[in-house]
């Protein structure tokens, strides 16, 4: 096995383990910490694919800004106490059956699916660099890129509108 392959398998193992810990951890702070680890592993995958710009952005935006927000929210909410389960056994059973069916279907599909492999000889190694990303973003995907700003504007207007303090009582 080559060195990159070993790195790939190690990274993948850590990614999967930490991602499953995100969902299973009882303490939300542990969840968030595991999520940060997952993001760092994904960054490692980006580096392996020669996408340095995405790797940097992933760390700055996801592992940095978003996770800080997550931690802040959790600390504000003070979720330390264990919430008693509100789901009935029937709901849990149904959820397990539905999730299990989805898992089986997915596994079956991925086993049978064939994805054309890349030929290392002809692979364009510059594909993940910031230059080619800019070319794609500002040439092919210019319209959705610009319209995404409408999305952010809506989100900002909404955040300000909903976040402003309002006088008066709450009612049902």
């Amino acid at each position: 096995m080559k060195a990159t392959e070993i790195i790939f398998y190690v990274l993948t193992a850590i990614t999967l383990l930490s991602a499953s810990f995100v969902v299973t951890a009882r303490n939300p702070v542990h969840s968030v910490l595991a999520l940060i680890l997952t993001f760092f592993c994904l960054t490692g995958h980006y580096v392996l694919m020669n996408a340095q710009f995405l790797a940097a952005v992933n760390i700055i935006v996801y592992a940095g800004a978003i996770m800080v927000l997550f931690l802040f929210t959790i600390m504000f909410l003070n979720l330390q106490k264990e919430d008693e389960e509100s789901k009935t056994t029937l709901t849990k059973m149904a959820a397990v059956v539905v999730g299990g069916v989805l898992l089986v279907v997915m596994v079956a599909v991925f086993r049978a699916a064939s994805v054309a492999p890349y030929d290392p000889a002809t692979y364009n190694t510059r594909v993940g660099l910031v230059e080619s990303l800019g070319m794609v973003l500002y040439k092919d995907y210019l319209l959705p890129f610009e319209l995404a700003s409408v999305l952010f504007l809506v989100a900002m207007v909404g955040a300000v509108m909903l976040g402003k303090r309002e006088p008066g009582d709450r009612h049902f």
Binding site: V105, M106, A108, V109, F110, A112, A113, S114, V115, K139, D140, Y141, L142, L143, P144, L147, A148, V150, L151, L153, V154, A155, V157, G158, M161, L162, E166, G168, D169, R170, H171, F172
Partner: protein, 463 residues
């Protein structure tokens, strides 16, 4: 293309108009902006354009769907006079968000690339989450917004995963590329394609509240301010079905044999769940929420039986449904304001008791819209159902047709409850003062419903 640019700019202009001391200018400005966008859309009539490297396809079908969306938005904004008097309301922001959300709806209608679909769905959904929670001091509105947001993001996650799988199979996000990939694969496309299609369908069916994914609908529609419920149940549904039609008819028509069974099952489930639960509701608003689920079921027939007739049938049905729904919610807004219990407007059936005595016009408008929703002849709703049902006959789906007809009969029961309350029950409804413009919008919608019901050919000539 022009309406998308115009509406994005107009939304920002509206935000700035909010700085003005007087609020009176906001409503006419918003109406004018929507009218300008409507006119600009027709500049591209009979010309088929692809914009920005296969991102957006504007053809007559897209223009018709956009027109329905814009008409619905125009009517909703026209009925929103109350915001200008309410101290707590922030009309500039509301109108701006409404205009931005139409941008999202138009992207969903004319997309040619799945990225455009995703950004459009997100713009529309985020706007709806915000407007649902816009009645900030109302706990039910807060609950509805949070519920909608959490479930909507979850559904978006499914859709995004599906798009990723489609990209993995095809290597492109463009609808026509997916189509040519399927055609070139000699009936053996990668399994990732099927999985991707299913997940994208699940995400979209959630947005139009089809049956196994409809559980958010009643709570959200009931909790949201009535006006925004009207917007949600018309614009989101029209745009969602336009997007589904585009996806299924352009990309996946070659593997019809794969997905029609799934869609037919979901159609049957939606019809049953929507209509049977609507019977048991005591709140008119909640009944309308279930009725919107059942209408999603009727519209799904047009997709499950995808064929020559489907396009015109879906356009016609969306128009008929939007007109009737908005005028029904418009009347509900007026009537519910009359009685309040614990500071909460009375939205039950009994609020309509004896409405016809002192307010014959309002009662007539609501009666026509109920008849149209129920699909009684001489209203637009009848021809909408007729066209969808004949599309099903063309495909030989008789069992779905029988189920749909049975469910329409169930629908007559709960739609007529309010008509009976208005005309045959005693009530102390006083005379309700209606602003002239509000009245004009209601009359126009009713007239259009009846005209389309008597001469549906008028519309088919336009297609």
């Amino acid at each position: 293309m022009l309406p998308i640019i115009l509406l994005s700019v107009f939304g920002i202009v509206l935000l700035f108009l909010g700085f003005l001391k007087t609020r009176a200018v906001l409503l006419p400005a918003a109406l004018l902006f929507i009218l300008i966008a409507l006119g600009a859309g027709f500049l591209e009539w009979n010309k088929s354009y692809l914009y920005f490297g296969d991102m957006l396809l504007i053809n007559n079908l897209a223009i018709l769907f956009s027109t329905i969306v814009l008409i619905s938005a125009f009517m909703v904004v026209a009925l929103s006079g109350d915001f200008l008097e309410d101290e707590m309301a922030q009309p500039a922001e509301y109108y701006a968000i409404l205009l931005f959300s139409i941008v999202g709806a138009m992207m969903m209608i004319g997309y040619e690339n799945l990225i455009m679909l995703f950004v459009g769905v997100e713009i529309l959904s985020v706007s709806m989450y915000i407007l649902t929670g816009s009645d900030k001091r109302n706990l039910r509105s807060n609950e509805a917004a949070l519920k909608y947001f959490l479930m909507g993001s979850f559904a978006t996650g499914f859709m995004l995963f599906g798009m990723a799988l489609l990209y993995g199979a095809v290597g492109s996000f463009t609808l026509t590329d997916i189509k040519s990939y399927i055609l070139l694969s000699h009936g053996r496309p990668s399994l990732l394609l099927y999985m991707g299609e299913l997940l994208v369908l699940i995400g979209m069916l959630f947005k139009v509240s089809a049956a196994p994914f409809h559980f958010w609908t009643p709570d959200v529609y009931e909790g949201a301010p009535t006006l925004f419920t009207a917007f949600m149940s018309t614009v989101v549904k029209t745009a969602g079905f336009a997007a589904l039609l585009q996806l299924l008819s352009v990309s996946f028509s070659a593997i019809y044999g794969f997905w029609w069974v799934i869609l037919a099952a979901i159609t049957a489930l939606t019809l049953l769940a929507g209509n049977l639960t609507a019977v048991y509701q005591n709140s008119f608003k909640r009944m309308m929420a279930y009725s919107s689920i059942s209408h999603a079921g009727y519209l799904l027939i047009g997709l499950a039986a995808l064929g020559q007739q489907s396009r015109s049938a879906l356009v016609f049905y969306s128009l008929a449904y939007s007109l009737a729904t908005i005028s029904a919610f418009g009347i509900l807004l007026l009537v519910a304001k009359q009685h309040t219990t614990d500071g909460r407007p009375d939205e039950s059936y009994s609020a309509f008791n004896g409405l016809s005595r002192n307010n014959p016009l309002l009662a007539f408008v609501l009666a026509v819209s109920m008849l149209s929703l129920a699909g009684i002849p001489l209203t637009a709703g009848f021809w909408g159902k007729f066209m969808l049902f004949s599309a099903a006959v063309d495909r030989g789906m008789v069992w779905i047709l029988i189920l749909a007809v049975l469910m329409s009969a169930v629908g007559i029961y709960y739609y007529f409850r309010v008509v009976i309350a208005m005309y045959f029950r005693e009530g102390q409804a006083g005379r309700i003062r209606v602003a002239p413009f509000y009245q004009f919008i209601l009359i126009a919608a009713t007239a259009l419903t009846i005209i389309l019901g008597i001469v549906p050919g008028l519309f088919q000539n336009i297609m």
